[in-house]
C-alpha cells in the first residue's frame, strides 16, 4: 500500500522522525539513525558549527535521502526564533524549520504566544514551519490558520519518556487537523510510538528514548517497526472496546 506522508513539498516513506541529542558518540548516533530509516532528522542549530564544513555531527548523518530539520531550540521568544531560522536557512540551505520556543529552562515547555507569532512571521518569510507546542487543539487550529505546514504537539514534557499524557487533547487535535500531526516529546518506548500511530498521528518524533537506551541501534529498529505497525493498524481500522449503552426502555418501538 502506498501510504506516504506529505508535508509541504516533500514526501516521506518513514513516519519516524528523529533527533540528534544525547547520543554517546557521533558514530553511535549515525548508526542508530540509519537503523531506524528516518528521513527527517532534527538538529539543534545551536549545537552545529555551521562555519565548519567538517562539523562531525553533521557529517555523520548527511545522506542523500535524509532531510535535515534545523530546530530553534534555545531561543526564548519569537524574535530570536525568526533570527535563528534565518541563520539556519543560510547555513543548512533549507527553508524548513522546527520552531521551538521554550523560555522555561527547567521543563522546556513551549511558549504558545511567541510560537504563534513566530510561525506567522516565518510563513511570510517563506519557511516551512513545524511548530513544537503543547497539545492544545485551539493553538493547533490557530497555527494552521497562519500557515504552519504541520503541528507537533507534545505527548509529555520533553525528555520524560512518559508517553502520551496528553492523550485526550491529542485525539481532538488529530480529529480536527487539516495538516499533519506529529507527536513530539514524551515518547519513551516503541509501544508509545505505536499507540500514537494507532490514534491516527501522521508521524512521531523520537530522540531521547533511542539515544539513552542501552542499545540505541536495537532500539532504533524497534521504533521503526513500532511506527510501521501502528500505522498499519490505524489503516486497518482497529476494533475497539465495546461501550454498552445503558439499558432503558426501547426508544424505537413507536416505529412498528
Amino acid at each position: 500500500m502506498n501510504d506516504l506522508l506529505t508535508i509541504a513539498d516533500k514526501t516521506f516513506q518513514s513516519r519516524l522522525f528523529t533527533g540528534t541529542g544525547k547520543f554517546s558518540s557521533n558514530q553511535l548516533m549515525s548508526d542508530a539513525l540509519m537503523a531506524c530509516e528516518s528521513e527527517l532528522i532534527t538538529v539543534a542549530l545551536k549545537r552545529v558549527d555551521v562555519n565548519n564544513e567538517q562539523d562531525q555531527m553533521l557529517k555523520s548523518i548527511m545522506r542523500p535521502h535524509i532531510n535535515l530539520l534545523p530546530n530553534t531550540s534555545g531561543v526564548r521568544n519569537a524574535k530570536e526564533a525568526v533570527f535563528a531560522a534565518q541563520l539556519a536557512r543560510e547555513a543548512l540551505e533549507t527553508n524548513w524549520v522546527k520552531l521551538e520556543i521554550h523560555p522555561d529552562p527547567k521543563y522546556l515547555l513551549p511558549d504558545p504566544i511567541e510560537t504563534l507569532k513566530a510561525a506567522e512571521e516565518l510563513v511570510k518569510l517563506g519557511f516551512v514551519v513545524m511548530p513544537y507546542i503543547h497539545a492544545d487543539p485551539v493553538l493547533c487550529k490557530r497555527l494552521e490558520d497562519v500557515g504552519a505546514q504541520c503541528v507537533m504537539p507534545l505527548g509529555a514534557p520533553i525528555g520524560t519518556n512518559k508517553g502520551l499524557k496528553t492523550l485526550d487533547f491529542l485525539e481532538i487535535i488529530i480529529e480536527q487537523s487539516n495538516v499533519p500531526v506529529i507527536v513530539d516529546a514524551g515518547i519513551g518506548s516503541p509501544s508509545h510510538a505505536a499507540f500514537a500511530m494507532e490514534l491516527g498521528a501522521d508521524a512521531v518524533l523520537v530522540n531521547t528514548a533511542i539515544a539513552v537506551s542501552q542499545k540505541p541501534i536495537e532500539m532504533a529498529k524497534a521504533f521503526k517497526m513500532a511506527v510501521e505497525a501502528g500505522r498499519i493498524a490505524y489503516n486497518a481500522k482497529l476494533a475497539t472496546v465495546k461501550h454498552h449503552a445503558e439499558a432503558s426502555s426501547p426508544l424505537t418501538s413507536f416505529l412498528n
Binding site: K141, E171, Q176, N178, T240, H243, S248, L251, T252, F254
Partner: protein, 370 residues
C-alpha cells in the same frame, strides 16, 4: 488550507459512494457502534441497510451522547416567513415562480405584528425566511427587517438565497447569528432537474455557500438535504462530508443539521425516494453518533407522534406552531403556505409535552443582539 468544499466534493462519485454505503456489513456496523470517535466510513455503516437491525442500539447511544452534551434541554425556535416572492423554479416548492399564487412581502407594520405574536408565545430565537427575489427581498430588505426586530430577539437566523461573502459580513455586522442553507440534493444531475430556472440552478454556487459563510466569520451554519429528492443515504453521506470539511476549516463556527422530508405543497411533487420514519430515525442517530456536538434540528414538517419520540433520540432544537406563509401568524393567516406542516400543536402544548418527557424547553440560549 482553506480548500473549498467543491474541490473535495468533486473527488467523489455519487454511484460509487452509494455502492460503498450499500456494501457495508453487520460487522462494519458493530465496529462503528463500538467506537467512541467515528469517522465517515463508520457513518456510512450506520446509514447503510446493514445497520437496520441495530436501530435500537443506535438510538440508545444517540440518546446518551446527546444527554451528555446537551443535558435535558431542547432549544425552541420559530420561523417567520417574510415573503413568498421567488424567481426560482424549484419542483418541490409552493413558492416556485410559475405557481400562480398571490405574492406578498411583509411591510414593517406586518413584521412588527407578527413579531408581537411570536413574542407573546415566548420565542426568543427567530428564523427569518424568504424566497429568492433580489429586487424585493434582497440584502437591503433582509438587513432592514433584522434591524427592525433585533432588540426583540436574542438571536436571529436567516434562511434566504445564497449570498456573497461581503453580504454575509454586512449582515453579521447587523447582528446576524446563523444562516441555514440546504443543498437540497448533492446529486449534481438531479439537482439540475429540480432547479431548472433561476439563480438556484447554479449547483456550485450553492455548494460553496457554507464556505463563504465560514470565511465571513458567521457564528453558526445550518446544513441539510431535502430528503425525498434523491437517495437519502447518499445525500446524508454528502451532508456529513460537508459538515466535516466545514468543521475542520472554519473551526470557530458552530453547525446544525436539519432533516426536512419532502412535504405536500401547492403544485405537488411526489417524493422520488421514500424516506420512512425508520430511515429518518436512523439518519438522525447516525449524525449524533458521528458528532457529539452538532445541533440537530426538527421542524413541524413531522407528525406529532414522530416528534414526541424523536426528542429523546438526538434532536436538540425544535420549532413549534410554525406558519410557512408570509404573515401566517396574524397578518394574513390564509395566504398560501410553502408546504403543509404536520404537527399543528400550539407552542404551549409542545412545551408541555417536553416537560412531561423530562425535558426543558429553552427559549433563550445565546444573546447575540447587544
Amino acid at each position: 488550507m482553506n480548500t473549498s468544499f467543491q474541490t473535495i466534493f468533486d473527488t467523489y462519485n455519487w454511484e460509487m459512494t452509494l455502492n460503498s454505503i450499500n456494501a457495508k456489513t453487520a460487522q462494519d456496523v458493530e465496529f462503528a457502534l463500538a467506537k467512541t470517535k467515528r469517522d465517515l466510513e463508520d457513518f456510512k455503516a450506520l446509514i447503510s441497510p446493514a445497520a437496520r437491525p441495530y436501530l435500537e442500539q443506535m438510538a440508545q447511544q444517540s440518546r446518551l451522547i446527546t444527554k451528555k452534551r446537551f443535558g435535558n434541554t431542547i432549544q425552541m425556535y420559530v420561523p417567520m416567513y417574510l415573503s413568498n416572492e421567488c424567481q426560482n423554479i424549484c419542483t418541490y416548492c409552493g413558492f416556485s415562480m410559475t405557481n400562480k399564487i398571490p405574492r406578498r412581502t411583509l411591510t414593517d407594520a406586518d413584521i412588527l405584528k407578527e413579531v408581537a405574536f411570536l413574542k407573546s408565545k415566548g420565542y426568543d430565537h427567530i428564523l427569518l425566511v424568504t424566497g429568492e427575489a433580489n429586487k424585493t427581498v434582497g440584502v437591503p430588505y433582509i438587513k432592514h427587517a433584522m434591524e427592525l426586530i433585533k432588540h426583540q430577539f436574542s438571536n436571529i437566523t436567516i434562511e434566504v438565497q445564497p449570498l456573497h461573502q461581503q453580504e454575509y459580513e454586512e449582515l453579521i455586522e447587523a447582528n446576524l447569528y446563523a444562516v441555514l442553507v440546504y443543498q437540497e440534493t448533492y446529486n449534481r444531475a438531479e439537482y439540475k432537474k429540480h432547479h431548472p430556472k433561476g439563480k438556484k440552478s447554479n449547483f456550485d454556487f450553492r455548494l460553496e455557500t457554507p464556505d463563504r459563510l465560514g470565511r465571513s466569520g458567521i457564528h453558526k451554519i445550518g446544513l441539510g438535504a431535502l430528503f425525498g429528492l434523491e437517495d437519502w443515504r447518499a445525500d446524508s453521506f454528502f451532508t456529513a462530508l460537508h459538515l466535516k470539511h466545514l468543521q475542520k476549516t472554519y473551526w470557530k463556527t458552530k453547525y446544525s443539521i436539519s432533516f426536512p422530508r419532502l412535504r405536500p405543497h401547492s403544485g405537488g411533487l411526489e417524493p422520488k425516494v421514500e424516506m420512512t420514519d425508520s430511515d429518518l430515525v436512523q439518519t438522525i442517530c447516525a449524525f449524533r453518533l458521528l458528532d457529539d456536538d452538532v445541533e440537530l434540528s426538527m421542524s413541524t414538517r413531522e407528525s406529532e407522534t414522530f416528534r414526541n419520540h424523536i426528542v429523546h433520540l438526538g434532536i436538540t432544537s425544535l420549532s413549534a406552531e410554525s406558519k410557512t406563509n408570509p404573515g401566517g401568524y396574524v397578518v394574513e393567516p390564509q395566504s398560501l403556505e410553502q408546504f403543509e406542516i404536520s404537527d399543528e400543536r400550539s407552542t404551549e402544548a409542545i412545551a408541555k409535552m417536553l416537560q412531561e418527557n423530562g425535558l426543558e424547553p429553552v427559549w433563550k440560549d445565546w444573546e447575540n443582539t447587544w
